[in-house]
């Protein structure tokens, strides 16, 4: 054994020492692992403190340690700390191994003797493993200064503006004809009730006019190659059939187009739009798009009214889909959410009972620019309801649909209650399970509503029906609910019911995640690098998330995340280059047979197949060291730096305590 290993066992106050005999573990390592190279084993109250780190540094210098094992918390937390300490003392940082005796031992056990025995085993595994570590150097790659933002909702808009203002190029790619996202559909926003368009459109206009923003709407990202700092992105631009360099946005085409169709997207089926259209008046960009599917000219071969009337000859029926490639250094995904499809809860009657509305439909009803000019009316388009029920938590907090809380529905339901009272004076019933008002000004908003005479019924609605049983129910929707505050079943007759449907991941969230090489939770929300400490980064270097794509959230939180992601990206751009963890997979080409088993497996598209030589290769800058291919290669041709078979198997030998110095009896 030629290595000189230093072992450091941390007490972490009582976090570890309360359950593990740390002094005993250190003493044991000094005795029983001496023949495996352990020359010093210490225990210390807080290894991560400066004094703790100095202990290691001093030993490296004075005892000439060639390897360091710290038994403390999870590598997630302090691996960097101890690696840096080693580097300061002149030891390659990758010759340090952190074994977790807190998260994996003291915190999860209740028997001190057994926990101590396990701590010894884990430590022994670390000692065996560290022997096989090799000194590594981080990979340095330059950062391209341009950024791609995907999704032009409020989160994406905020991110794009922050970065563009700092002076670097932003490509903003939006799938719909206009940016704005869900916020553009709302009338008022809780809790301040300021007009949604009034606060959103100035930002949209700034995006449209910003010299550093290249706005690409009606477009989608179809492919992402490359890696942090050096992404190559393929954008597919759908044909608008309008030449944007000629179009002035006058709207004549839209006015003259003779055909109207139901607008299922922006107006959620409540209103109509022309075939050549802008989804709403303040759309950015101002250029319309022509919906080929419904266009009379494309169907019948005649019409071209838009072309005839367009003063600048901007209509172009020959336009084709365009493929554009962009080079960017970082990517922010802000593709938002979809509304839970309340048809999935048939007992609430959506689609069957005309006067049951979804929350987004209700937003459009309230909106002055909406299909009813802001009049809250029933499905017939004229009758003003005298009583309205608003059901919270539709599809949320329910094992059958989504177990999570959609976080905005309570507040949005209160907003609706206020708007109904304000616009119609109708009686309003809010059916809630728990009132969740944790944001700034939210609880106050709730109290304001209590004073506005809204009825609050605490209970989960069982059913919405049209079967009258009792006097006064005839011609009404009947909400059947257990009022848990009075412990009684109630049947409440109402004119109109609004379902506050929850937020759910975009229907195509998983496919989009695959294009960008990031991971989703089982629900489909994109996963952040750390739920508390790194909420806008992902496990894929250079790809950030912001807004509702990460999980249900309100506008302030979406804006904050947009700005946070922008700050992270700007930091990266400032650094000009980035050091990448050298934990990477590599393929030994003499062993690779080109069987192609590994080819499609890499979640980061890091594996390249060379048809000419029939071998596969890992691009080290793309590889994130996940180990998928390492496990899959049947030839054992791929090894992961830091995770070689030798390292893993020797760690197992250590864990099984097969390496111990026999005790003399």
């Amino acid at each position: 054994m030629t290595e000189k290993i230093g072992v450091y066992v941390c007490h972490c106050g009582t976090n570890i020492a309360g359950m593990v005999d740390v002094e005993g573990v250190a003493k044991w390592a000094a005795e029983r692992l001496a023949h495996r190279g352990v020359v010093i084993a210490r225990d210390y109250k807080f290894m991560c403190s400066s004094l703790g780190q100095e202990l290691i540094e001093k030993d490296i210098q004075e005892l000439g340690l060639t390897r360091v094992v710290v038994a403390a918390c999870s590598p997630h937390l302090h691996e960097q700390t101890f690696r840096t300490a080693c580097a300061r003392a002149g030891l390659n940082p990758y010759l340090c191994e952190l074994v977790s005796i807190r998260e994996q031992v003291s915190w999860v056990h209740t028997d001190k003797a057994a926990a101590t025995a396990k701590a010894k085993a884990v430590l022994s595994g670390g000692v065996e493993r560290v022997t096989h570590h090799a000194p590594l150097e981080p990979l340095r790659v330059p950062i391209h200064p341009a950024t791609l933002v995907v999704g032009g909702g409020i989160a994406g808009i905020q991110a794009a503006l922050e970065i563009a203002d700092s002076g670097t190029r932003v490509y903003l790619v939006e799938r719909e004809p206009s940016i704005g996202g869900h916020m553009a559909q709302f009338d008022k926003t809780f809790p301040t009730l300021d007009c949604s368009a009034c606060i959103l459109t100035p930002k949209m206009v700034s995006v449209g006019n910003h010299p550093n923003i290249t706005l690409m709407t009606y477009a989608e990202v179809t492919k992402v190659d490359g890696f942090v700092g050096n992404f190559e992105v393929t954008v597919t631009q759908k044909p608008r059939y309008v030449k944007v360099d000629l179009c002035t946005g006058c709207g004549v085409c839209e006015e003259k187009c003779p055909k109207k169709v139901v607008d299922d997207i922006f107006e959620v089926g409540l209103g109509k739009r022309k075939v050549i259209y802008r989804p709403f008046a303040q759309a950015v960009p101002k250029y319309p798009v022509l919906d080929r599917e419904n266009c009379t000219y494309f169907i019948k071969g005649t019409c071209k009214a838009c072309e005839k009337f367009c003063p600048t000859d901007a209509i172009d029926f020959e336009q084709k889909e365009e493929i554009i490639t962009l080079k960017v250094g970082n990517i922010i995904l802000a593709t938002g959410f979809d509304l839970f499809n309340a048809h999935r809860i048939p007992q609430y009657g959506l689609g069957r009972l005309p006067n049951v509305f979804t929350s987004l439909e209700f937003e459009r009803l309230c909106n002055a620019a909406g299909p009813t000019n802001g009049n809250v009316v029933m499905r017939d388009g004229t009758t003003v309801p005298k009583s309205v029920g608003i059901i919270h938590c539709v599809g949320s907090r329910d094992e059958n649909y989504h177990a999570y809380c959609s976080s905005i529905c309570c507040m949005q339901s209160l907003k609706f209650a206020h708007l109904v009272r304000e616009r119609t004076g109708a009686e309003v019933y809010n059916f809630y399970i728990d009132m969740r008002a944790p944001g700034k000004g939210y609880e106050e908003f709730y109290h304001r509503l209590l004073e506005e005479g809204v009825h609050f019924v605490r209970g989960k609605v069982a059913e919405v029906s049209a079967f009258a049983r009792l006097p006064g129910e005839e011609g009404h929707l009947i909400v059947q609910v257990e009022d848990t505050l009075i412990g009684k079943q109630r049947r409440i007759p109402l004119d109109m019911v609004v379902l506050s449907a929850g937020l759910e991941p975009r229907h195509d969230a998983k496919q989009v995640a695959k294009v960008f090489g990031i991971s989703c939770s089982a629900d489909g929300w994109y996963i952040e690098k750390h739920p508390k400490l790194d909420p806008v980064a992902t496990m894929t270097e250079g790809i950030y998330i912001a807004g509702a794509v990460q999980g249900p959230k309100d506008i302030p939180a979406s804006v904050a995340q947009g700005a946070a992601a922008a700050a992270r990206v700007m930091g990266r751009i400032q650094q000009k280059e980035i050091a990448l963890e050298p934990v990477r997979a590599s393929i030994d080409e003499t062993r690779c047979s080109g069987c192609r088993i590994c080819n499609a497996l890499c979640p980061f598209n890091a594996i390249l197949y060379h048809a000419d030589t029939a071998v596969s290769e890992v691009n080290p800058a793309l590889c994130q060291g996940c180990g998928t291919c390492v496990a899959a290669c049947p030839a054992g041709a791929i090894s992961g730096t830091g995770f070689s078979d030798e390292q893993v198997l020797s760690q197992m030998e250590g864990l099984l305590l097969r390496n111990l110095q026999p005790v003399e009896v």
Binding site: S593, C595, L601, A614, A631, A632, C633, P634, G636
Partner: protein, 337 residues
């Protein structure tokens, strides 16, 4: 060296089918080189020899010993130890000696069950249900037959081995090449590879030598060659036939897959792999083209005889080795049948 100055050669057949012996004879005229360059002192299948003759030889006096077959019984072990003592270069020859071979699939069951299968099947004519007895007294005296151990072991679990030469059996060209190399090395014209190496094989896998076209792998189901007509030019695995080629050390010129028969993996794992079947299973599982757990289950259920497919010739040498009694325990148990 013997009186005639030639180095000594030995070959032995332990628990194996005999194919390895045939493969050596199948090296055609090269067999004459063996005779020209070596003094064959022990090769039960080819010449008459007694164990006591070997016992009488000085230690380390045999230069090259090719040992084929696994260690199934006490005789195998005894001769393995004897030949180890007497030989300079001991080669684990063929899959059974290297990794237990397919006889080691019996490690999946008990010794008792194996004996029952062998002596009491429908096709066995054994009305009195006789079993071989370790000891038997006849008028001439006491007879001993070897004890059958409870598990099959590869040669290196019995004695240290210098080289491994895989294959079921090893290809004749590879044998000829190895013989030639040893002859050259003896003359000082070549150097032998490092002790413990695999000889007579390559460092990549069978796919490397297979000329079938390969694409990114996506498997939607498993089938067998008798059930359809495979595309003659396309990788078998991509057609749903469990071909072990991707995990198997090359050296056989991909004879089986090229002839339309899936590779069974007889050349064993590569230098980079510790466990053949484990590697292969994780590879195959990785390319199942579905994310639906039930669908995946359904596809995997189509694999016929999973252990027999993934560990056809490697079970005893795998990380999954059967939990083994010590030799003493095993010997003892055999006596108490």
């Amino acid at each position: 060296m013997t009186a005639n100055g030639k180095p000594k050669f030995a070959m032995y057949w332990a628990a194996a089918c005999g194919g390895c012996e045939i493969a050596v004879l199948n090296i055609h005229e090269k067999i004459l080189d063996v005779d020209a360059n070596f003094d064959v002192v022990f090769w039960p299948v080819a010449m008459d020899a007694k164990y006591k003759d070997v016992e009488a030889m000085p230690d380390q006096s045999i230069t090259l010993c090719l040992f084929n077959g696994a260690i199934r019984n006490s005789e195998n072990r005894h001769i393995a130890e004897l030949l180890r003592r007497k030989s300079k270069i001991l080669v684990a020859f063929g899959s059974c000696a290297c990794e237990g071979g397919f006889p080691a699939l019996s490690n999946l069951t008990t010794r008792e069950e194996t004996l029952r299968t062998a002596f009491s099947t429908v096709s066995t004519d054994n009305p009195q249900n006789l079993r071989p007895q370790p000891n038997y007294t006849v008028p001439e005296g006491e007879l001993d037959i070897p004890h059958m151990y409870s598990v099959v072991r590869p040669l290196d679990q019995a004695v240290p081995v210098d080289y491994y030469m895989p294959g079921c059996p090893p290809e004749s060209e590879q044998i000829a090449a190895v013989v030639e190399l040893v002859i050259k090395a003896l003359k000082g014209e070549a150097t032998l590879p490092a002790a413990g190496s695999v000889i007579g094989a390559g460092h990549s896998t069978v796919c490397d030598e297979c000329t079938r076209t390969r694409n990114e792998k996506k498997i939607t189901g498993f089938t067998r060659i008798q059930d359809f007509r495979p595309d003659p030019a396309l990788c078998l695995l991509e057609q749903g036939i469990l071909c072990n080629g991707p995990a198997t050390r090359n050296g056989c010129t991909a004879r089986c897959p090229m002839a339309g028969v899936p590779c069974v993996g007889c050349y064993g794992p590569t230098d980079g792999a510790r466990d053949f079947g484990g590697r292969l299973m994780s590879a195959v599982a990785s390319v199942i083209d579905s994310t639906d757990p039930q669908e995946i289950e359904r596809i995997l259920d189509q694999i016929p005889d999973p252990v027999g497919s993934f560990y056809h010739t490697n079970l005893a040498g795998s990380l999954l080795q059967a939990s083994k009694p010590t030799w003493e325990e095993d010997q003892h148990a055999a006596h108490h049948d």
